[in-house]
Symmetry: none
Subunit: 412 residues, 2 copies
């Protein structure tokens, strides 16, 4: 069953608010096994709202309209729905009485304009709204279903999760569920991941495979549709296994896991404490680690040595050599292990730009020291200062994780 | 001129990411005087992308498509655009060479699939993309204009604000220019700023006044429309003066200035160096300071002392007292002045959550020490760990700025 979401509101078109309702409904519909091919945003104009309702009804089985059912003159969804489906607007005495009761109970006089919220397209069912004054609407039109819910997120959530979802499931007969498994990878470029999985991508329709790049990490999403969660998971399992076999240790986590949380868990498993020593990334690595609740169980602190002087005086980097070198990164890591009294240190030095520092802009060096070994790697990143620093801090977290689990030492 | 935004990506339909690009483009188009009646989201399916392109071209003058131009198999915007406009896909030797150069410069071998990004619909103009590997596209089709930009926000912003906006303005034959002046404030709540400027807000249509809250800072945007830049600026000048008179030292910067850049400039003006000492913010303050190009002229480093032990051993915080107190924040600031050998230190300690540390969650303490004086302030922030840490680092930067310019000492 194909369900389309239509958001009404000029404030969305003007970018004054982000369409979070669209994301919420998209995720919830997918979870419950409904297909979505399109979402549309339209402004507060009765003809244009009616036009998109018609377009959407022609290509989808059901339509969920959010917004445009408040009490003011620019709330036009009710009128547009009448125009699109050739219905009259009628008045609900019952809802008018409900509204009046609520205002009276609050000790206030109801403005006349609120009675607009007791109007509805003929033959529609009114869906009670405990959190607001506009009822939801449910309308059958030819063989299609139309729902209208308020644009206020908490009212929309309550109406969608309750009466709307219940009616959608009934209309769909037995509804399929959609289950996602996201494999998070680092270290292989997006295009290379696509090549390595090309035959799987082409051969798999259920589950399907998609690639999502975000910063330096590539996510591989495997999506299965089945009668229930267990059946969907067993469709996913062999494909997940095949993807993992191809990508190996580039897969560092699943679903909502982050490299920060995976690194901290790996350290906790070994009983090791963590510190950082940063130059060019200037606190970004520490800031990401300490964003994880409970990180204080493992993470102890950092020396940010932005100047050569501090690197030499507090971390004992060789004063006669450069500071953007692999040996300087290793010295920073070893020096900070001692200064901070920790088991593992990840250190970053480099030339983040805009002016080059010793080496060309984008040259970043990560050093990691653990009780087992230490190692450094030089990576060159394209882009501006912000991007170089962000990508370098991501690389530092990943290399530290590989060192802690012993995989970095295993590769040439 | 009516401009429609079309976002391509199944991840948007599934609600895995929110369509922030739609909001950004909506806001920017409105600022520049373009009308928008619709926005559409469509999944990664070539027939459906082509279908919505046709629908959009039938009702709008120009179309901006975001996303679907990466290197993988599910990036289908190029193919869909060919299908919708009856064009062939052709190959750009020049862009292929650009791609190859970039990979080679980074010391890596380009996977074959990246050459997909050198393909484009015949007769389209390629728009250079400094921040990524997919070029933007500009295509005239009958009397309509079609732009394609990447879905990655930073790449999209650069392409839209540059070549796309320039071509749109030329097509629209725009004669008026729109000039913005943004006054950035900190320390007065948004509703209070609104009250203080209410009469100006009501009296001003050109220039108009708008309030934008972002994190703890409130921006007052003054926008004038006129025949040229100079005329627009002289409309803005008296209103800016009036706003500054009302808001006083809460105004810390204009336009693209940030508290980080303003703080660094104030330090440079006094010839002072800067260090930081962070506990609960764990590197966020340092990360923000070092995001500014050239910050190394003033900023020297930080000790992140996430544990009590490090605070006591390296910063000489009193081991017999608590670490989430104003005296601990002052001791951290003074201790770091000595350890890092700098003139000014801003220190942050606190209880960021989710579990309380000595004090209730959200209690954050900023201490600043300069060659002139030192002072600490306790602030309680609502919200979760991420919000508390972000707002506290903003407060730390602002209080440090007020201390450096001598204003903090002047207030009770």
């Amino acid at each position: 069953m194909i369900v389309e979401v239509l958001a009404v509101g000029t404030e969305l078109l003007l970018g004054q608010i982000v369409n979070g309702n669209g994301a919420y409904l998209g995720a919830r519909l997918a979870e419950h096994g409904f297909d979505a091919h399109y979402q549309v945003v339209v402004g507060d104009n009765v003809e244009r709202i009616a036009a998109v309702i018609k377009t959407s009804l022609a290509r989808s089985d059901a339509l969920i309209i959010t917004g445009g059912i408040g009490p003011t003159q620019d709330d036009l969804t009710r009128e547009a729905l009448c125009l699109a489906t050739s219905r009259r607007l009628v008045h609900s005495e019952a809802w008018a009485a409900t509204l009046l009761d609520r205002w009276t109970a609050a000790g206030r006089v109801m403005p006349e304009s609120n009675l607009r919220q007791a109007e509805y397209p003929e033959s529609a069912e009114l869906l009670g709204n405990e959190k607001g004054t506009a009822p939801g609407l449910f309308l059958r039109h030819n063989d299609k279903a139309i729902f209208v819910v308020p644009g206020v997120p908490e009212e929309m959530h309550a109406l969608f999760d309750g009466p709307v979802l219940e009616r959608l499931a009934a209309l769909a007969g037995q509804s399929n569920v959609l289950v996602n498994r996201v494999l998070r990878t680092w270290g292989i470029p997006e295009s290379k991941v696509g090549e390595m999985l090309d035959d799987l991508y082409r051969a798999s329709t259920n589950p399907s495979i998609a690639f999502l790049a975000s910063a330096a990490e590539i996510k591989v999403r495997i999506t299965a549709k089945a009668a229930d969660q267990a059946a969907a998971r067993s469709l996913i399992a062999p494909v997940e296994l095949a993807v993992r076999e191809r990508l190996g240790s580039a897969v560092f986590g699943i679903d909502q896991e982050t490299v920060e949380s995976v690194l901290l868990a790996a350290l906790a498993a070994r009983g090791w404490t963590l510190g950082t020593a940063e130059s060019a990334t200037g606190g970004l690595v520490a800031g990401r680690i300490t964003s994880v609740p409970g990180s204080s169980a493992v993470y102890r602190g950092s020396l940010i040595a932005y100047t050569s002087d501090l690197k030499q005086r507090l971390l004992h980097v060789d004063p006669t050599a450069g500071v953007v070198t692999e040996s300087a990164a290793l010295a920073m890591a070893e020096g900070a292990r001692s200064l901070l009294a920790v088991d593992v240190v990840v250190a970053v030095t480099g030339s983040a730009g805009p002016e080059p520092a010793e080496q060309s802009v984008g040259t970043m060096i990560v050093g990691v020291a653990t009780p087992e070994a230490s190692r450094a790697r030089t990576i060159r990143f394209p882009g501006d200062r912000e991007r170089v620093r962000t990508y370098a801090s991501t690389a530092a977290l990943h290399l530290c994780r590989l060192a802690v689990v012993g995989e970095w030492w295993a590769t040439p």
